[in-house]
Symmetry: C2
Subunit: 302 residues, 2 copies
């Protein structure tokens, strides 16, 4: 089956502590969360790098989800390692250690078979690498990117160049404020829409997520999880759900994006109910669709 969507991003081992427990060297990374989630919707290829310490069970996990690994490399050295902890509010994590390891020299190599992929998601990596990947794909229907405060500070010019080449920009609210220079949400979003992307997606954690174009504005609530276990990867899961739905439906209308936002919200909520990617060990599409319907019900007004 041909790869319909490509994600380029991190593959990581996370040691983390939340109010509900801890895990050591658990599977993580933006490309891993995104591709696992998107695999429930479409054929996705992962472009990323891990070290020799990356356990074969992790590879089996991705393969069992049908994630194409032709663009995944395992090189000499250690896998990107992150250690962090979350406070009682499960808000921004406190980082205790970040070892880039093999990710420091990450040079994404796009297999020829991926060049015709119709959907491309550039997870949070250096903007110059994002640009390089864009140059290697042929003519995707949709290019989306994520970014973070670190690149807004340290690689702003490159980031601005990428913004001109993508259709959809994903970020969180603080990043939207920082990148736009506008303090309020609506003016920030309007400013970002002038910087290149035709659509902005602002992720707001437990509140939900917003998507806007110059002519539309839509907010999906987050699913009210009674018992959050580990918020790691919620944002990339959101992206995997939204982009996965779009790749599956090929409906790039406003309504299609709105449905995708709801799938994104559903997937974010499923991810945080377990540590690491444990929610995806035995997840069926039926559970996803049920969560989707519940969020739809939360939006219904007649």
């Amino acid at each position: 089956m041909a790869v319909k969507m490509v994600v380029v991003g991190s593959v990581a081992l996370d040691t983390l502590k939340t109010p509900k427990g801890k895990r050591e060297r658990a599977l993580g990374g933006s490309a891993v969360y995104f591709s696992t989630v998107a695999s429930y919707f479409t054929k996705v290829g992962l472009v990323g790098v891990a070290g020799k310490d990356f356990h074969k069970d992790h590879i089996s996990f991705l393969e069992s989800h049908g994630v194409d690994l032709e663009g995944f490399e395992q090189t000499e050295g250690k896998t990107f390692f992150w250690e962090g902890s979350y406070g009682a509010d499960f808000g921004d994590a406190t980082t205790h250690a970040t070892h880039l390891n093999v990710f420091e020299a990450f040079d994404p190599k796009l297999p020829d078979a991926y060049r015709d992929a119709e959907f491309l998601f550039l997870a949070n990596i250096h903007p110059s690498l994002q640009l390089k990947v864009i140059e290697r794909v042929n003519k995707p229907r949709l290019i989306a990117m994520d970014t973070m405060n670190f690149w807004i500070t340290s690689a702003l010019e490159e980031l601005k160049a990428v913004l001109k080449k993508v259709h959809v920009l994903f970020l969180n609210k603080q990043e939207a404020v920082q990148l736009s220079g506008e303090q309020k949400l609506a003016p920030a979003v309007f400013k970002l829409l002038e910087m290149g992307p035709m659509r902005v997606v602002v992720k707001m954690g437990e509140t939900g997520a917003l998507t806007a174009t110059k002519n539309s504005w839509f907010f999906t609530p987050a699913f009210p999880c009674p018992n959050i276990i580990d918020p790691t990867g919620a944002g990339d899961s959101f992206g995997g759900g939204l982009m996965g739905y779009l790749a599956q439906s090929l409906d790039l209308s406003e309504n299609g994006f709105r449905r995708g936002m709801i799938y994104g919200s559903a997937m974010g909520s499923i991810t945080v109910e377990q540590f690491s990617l444990d929610s995806y060990k035995n997840l069926s599409r039926a559970v996803i669709d049920e969560r989707y319907m519940k969020i739809c019900e939360m939006l219904r007004v007649s």
Copy 2:
């Protein structure tokens, strides 16, 4: 025309500074914002107190909106005065001065004509005063209350007693966390629903607002105002729009509340577009309904 809804709360003069300018001793107060907004939907009576410095133009303003002032007193002394300023993000105001003045001895007197009002809104006043008002009304269809961090800290037992007597609790997110003792939004709301009210409304500023019962969860986005002037009174305007719609429609179903939430969001966004209550100097119901329809469009998914 008989008073259908009663609001009990503050009448104030506000000296405030925002990034867009300043105003001295401008009309304000929770009961003023609430009643002015609700007047576009129903016949509302204001129970509150001002001092002799409260200008007759302010009274004319309320009268011109059809607000019933039988429960409004003007006593010897000065009107409740607040001075504050907002930073570039228009977030929580910094308070420079609070002079309770005549509001300190506020003892709400409910005119006999108000005892049969079907809707009662207890704005942010001391819980013991809220209780007292509840004891004076006959059998309202709906009692709603607002509160604030100050009462959660200083009058928690009285506040808990009020919670058992109201149908709807309004608060903001920080207050929901503080009152419930739960750090995350969803668990906080579920806990509050066990404390008495059958419905909780969490106001979240520029993000929007949430309402939940034990069986439902609904989020209305805020209208994306490109140019906020003064956020003062947005929350009480939200309340006035929601409660006003309910009093007008008498539709207390889940769908009725959802429509009311959207009217609340519309009114909050209209308030912040001007200083003080200036947005209501020449506002027509048609403008309100247009804003309502725009927010409905933001929620539509098929």
